[in-house]
Amino acid sequence: MTGLFHAPVMQNLMEQFGKLPGVGPKTAQRLAFFVLSLPKEEVAAFAEALVQAKETMTFCPVCFSLTDQTPCYVCRDVTRDRRTICVVEETTDVFSIERTRDYRGLYHVLQGSISPMDGRQPEDLRIRELLQRLESGEVEEIILATNPDVEGETTALYLARLLKPFGLRITRIAHGIPVGSNLEHADAATLSQALEGRREIGKA
């Protein structure tokens, strides 16, 4: 081993990279050495970007998505349809739906999902805050857009039951066959849900 491997600053840098998702010790080492090869100004800009993002981004007090504005861009946009709230697990889901440009309503980010086996319960999510948003009486439809896995389904079923007394229209996003894929490769659960979520076609 050369002295370089024992340099505490390098050890520290590798440890920091190692905290990133999907980064193992080898990649952490490569990234650390890559940073050293960059010009000083670029490294400074990189570090600055990290700190700035962390300092600026907060949770929107209305919908709880990550944002640099309070309230966030969607919540403050007067052209959005305030009668519909789309409930998602994470801010990244908001980005995904926004990319479609098809949805004009508001969002609510739960910041997680219910997972009985991992001990994640309703009170760990932003459910109370969702109920508070319904008090104004403006909302008419809740779209449950949690993931189609066990945790997401449990969360959707729980919310559907919880929201029932409010008398709103409660919908669940359809799951089915991915666009461009093949029926032959779809599993039974996906196919069965795709059939359940079928709709009429060819009507003028």
Binding site: D118, G119, V150, L157, Y158
Partner: protein
Amino acid sequence: MVQYKTEALVLHSRKYKEADGLLTLLTRHRGKVSAVARGIYKPGSKLRGGVQPFSLNAMLLNAGRSTLHSLNQSDCLEMFLPLRSDLDAMAAASYWAELLESFAMEEQEDTGMFQLALAGFYGLAACPEPLMIHALEIRLMNRMGYAPSFRVCAGCGKPIEPSPQYSFSADAGGLVCSHCRCEGQPVIRLGPAVISLWQGLENISLDKVNRIRPQPEVLGRLGKVSQAWILYQLGRPLKSWQVLKKMEV
């Protein structure tokens, strides 16, 4: 590396690294197995359809030197769709899966346990009721050799005299007589109806469980006894049980 084929129930799945899944399986031939399913969170993964929690699959696995096996192939045999479309059923299935995960032995063939696990998921899909859950709890405890003592005192071994009220102590191992019941020892009071319900659930075939119609307070008492009993055997509370209680709307 040894490759083997087995039927497996997925008890638990969590994300591992970026796109892999870490599965807890109950297999027909090797007991409880931990396995990594690579790339299941990538779009178009062929494995994903065969690794959903509470599903029965035909799996091809690799056993290496570590206790973590890896999944090569999986075909779903039974999805238990009713468990996925109802909150109570989903909650009950989560609880059953956690019970199995907590009690099943690692890498030890136990076909009886596998059959009970499978029958349990079928039972809950047909009838996700507290009575079914208790029937499964009781059978699982009996299989593990943890049947509580109802006929003789768990303290002194003398026969329990017929009485309208008994005292159950999980620490002692079942019913305790008035001599063995020491001051301050936590006991659950229960009547004979609770014991007959417990014994009835030990033997009744699971597809007939919904024919039993116990008094609500008898059922509630039985639930208290079985919770105390499981908590004592396991030494820790089950996570899903606590979440289930919170989800009652």
